[in-house]
Symmetry: C2
Subunit: 328 residues, 2 copies
């Protein structure tokens, strides 16, 4: 087999997630469940189609996360939660495993797709992590779509915001409609490996419901919610941000693979079920190696996720384990 | 030997640093050199005296870093560099290795001692990482000393700011006085292990000279510039923030110790001389284990550092290796 043939048959693929939490199966209407699966599949396919055509894992991750950001169901982009003062502060990061290039943005209030901004910050190659106005200046530099902060106002999130503020019981009407009876850790993310074997990871979130304005979570912090290293893996995590930050959860998974030679599945299993759980944290992780082994683990009741690889693996799941729903 | 005796004889100690860079020995006047050594020793002794009396490593790190923040020589606290727009934005983090508790603050403009603020954010136990006004609200909650942003204005840093802006050549007059002919990576930090074997690490900085307002460096990012884990080590790094962020340098050192069983010195050596150098980064690291093994490595010409342990190790150095100056 020639080197070209080896290159051409290199496996590629991706996984996406849209958060993990204590979703109550009995509250999940058939319509909402169908909407979730459709959105996860749409994100996955947007990324996979690019990988098929030979595009980079960076393109695939950006495309997949953009679909999830543009879906009101999830706590990222348009579906972002409210902060304590009733605004929206988004954060996102994207990292390439090829040269450990990375970009992150926090406290974003006027950029429609924070993952696109994270990518531009990475490609620009100056700062890696930018706050608010500094990040938004880069968005203007690259002509990214800007929106008023009120673009992120949605009725379901508003009800949740008011409920969490104790102002009134949440109007559960919205649950059966387009929005979702689970918002705990509604972060979205994607990990991909392309035909060149380059890994990429990205994460985007509206953060914690009613968070203090100015709180930074794990999503945009490299090594915490997002990390990518061709020699190890690409990781996107979701869950209790403060614990994931303290654990540097994503970097720990990468280091298990690189330093200890763990399989990806053991590395992710340990990080989620031993480490995260030991510190009282809930959440979940998707991860991928440069030859497109994909893994998903979570210690919550549910995690929204999907995957597809050139080897023919394909899945979309809410409950169960791995990328399969299994028994409730 | 009783358990009490073992406990009582448990080694304790700390190391401090005040940045690493390409300091030209010929530019270092005797007076400046003496000022630097005096400041490093004062910081070290402030921490060590507390450890001797049985205080926590958290107390020791806070005390040592406060001394360095209050010294105009170093790029942290009062000696912080200017941002691109002529203000000051400080950042700091503190982490305890006992329960991986941590606090970090970025974009601080009115808190005299950001390391104190980082500690309060940690002890408060809500958010881990806070930006600007959110962090400064915590400072007010704890009655920390507030200052006008102009408190951080110093003539030497102003000359440097203007020089880097190309407005004029730096007036080198200041170099022989209280300020310093090295500002590249003037971050300060401390790592300590106390009589209970608890490790703590802290880092504080004014960031990059003429940085974009809103740029976040590595210092306050857990796993990058600061990390502490009793089972591994406490680490404070200084250097090119963007590269340290991308490498999650501190967490990588901790993982080498925990996951691969590396000695502290090998773990730090690899991180600085292989990893950081491979990515074109310069900088340095101090680290400590729970039984007070202290290590310092840097790939720059100089690093300001000092250490003292209950085993009798004591040092203060600018050039050389470890905690000794050696030959130029």
């Amino acid at each position: 087999m020639s080197i070209d043939a080896v290159t051409a048959t290199r496996a590629y693929g991706l996984a996406v997630h849209a958060g993990a939490g204590s979703l109550d199966r009995t509250l999940l209407t058939a319509r909402v469940e169908s909407n979730i699966r459709t959105a996860l599949e749409a994100a996955r396919e947007a990324g996979f189609r690019l990988l098929e055509r030979g595009a980079s894992s960076i393109d695939a991750v950006e495309a997949a996360i953009t679909v999830l950001e543009d879906c009101e169901l999830f706590n990222a982009g348009v579906g972002s939660v409210y902060t304590a003062t009733g605004g929206h502060e988004l954060e996102a990061a994207l990292m390439s495993g090829r040269h450990l290039a990375a970009g992150g943005a926090v406290r974003i209030s006027t950029v429609k797709n924070p993952i696109r901004l994270a990518r531009r910050i990475m490609e620009r190659g100056h700062e890696v992590l930018l706050v608010g106005d500094a990040a938004e200046a880069v968005a203007r530099e690259f002509d990214l779509e800007e929106v008023a902060n009120s673009y992120f106002d949605t009725p379901g999130r508003l009800a949740e915001h008011q409920g969490a503020l104790g102002a009134a019981a949440i109007d559960r009407e919205w649950e059966g409609n387009s929005l979702l009876p689970m918002t705990e850790y509604g972060t979205v993310g994607a990990v991909a490996a392309d035909q060149q074997g380059d890994v990429c990871a990205g994460t985007s979130t509206g953060g914690l419901v009613n968070k203090t304005d100015g709180r930074i979570g794990d999503s945009a912090v490299l090594g915490a919610g997002t990390y990518a290293d061709n020699n190890g893996c690409g990781i996107s995590a979701t869950g209790q941000g403060e614990i994931i930050l303290r654990l540097s959860l994503a970097k720990g998974i990468n280091d298990r693979v690189i330093m200890r030679g763990s399989s990806l599945s053991l590395a992710v299993h340990e990080a989620v079920h031993n480490e995260l759980s030991r510190y009282g944290g809930s959440g979940g992780v998707i991860a991928i190696t440069s030859n497109s082994e994909v893994v998903c683990e979570f210690n919550t009741k549910a995690m929204f996720r999907a995957c597809r690889t050139s080897r023919g693996e394909v899945g979309v799941a809410i409950f169960g384990a791995g990328f399969k729903d299994g028994d409730p």
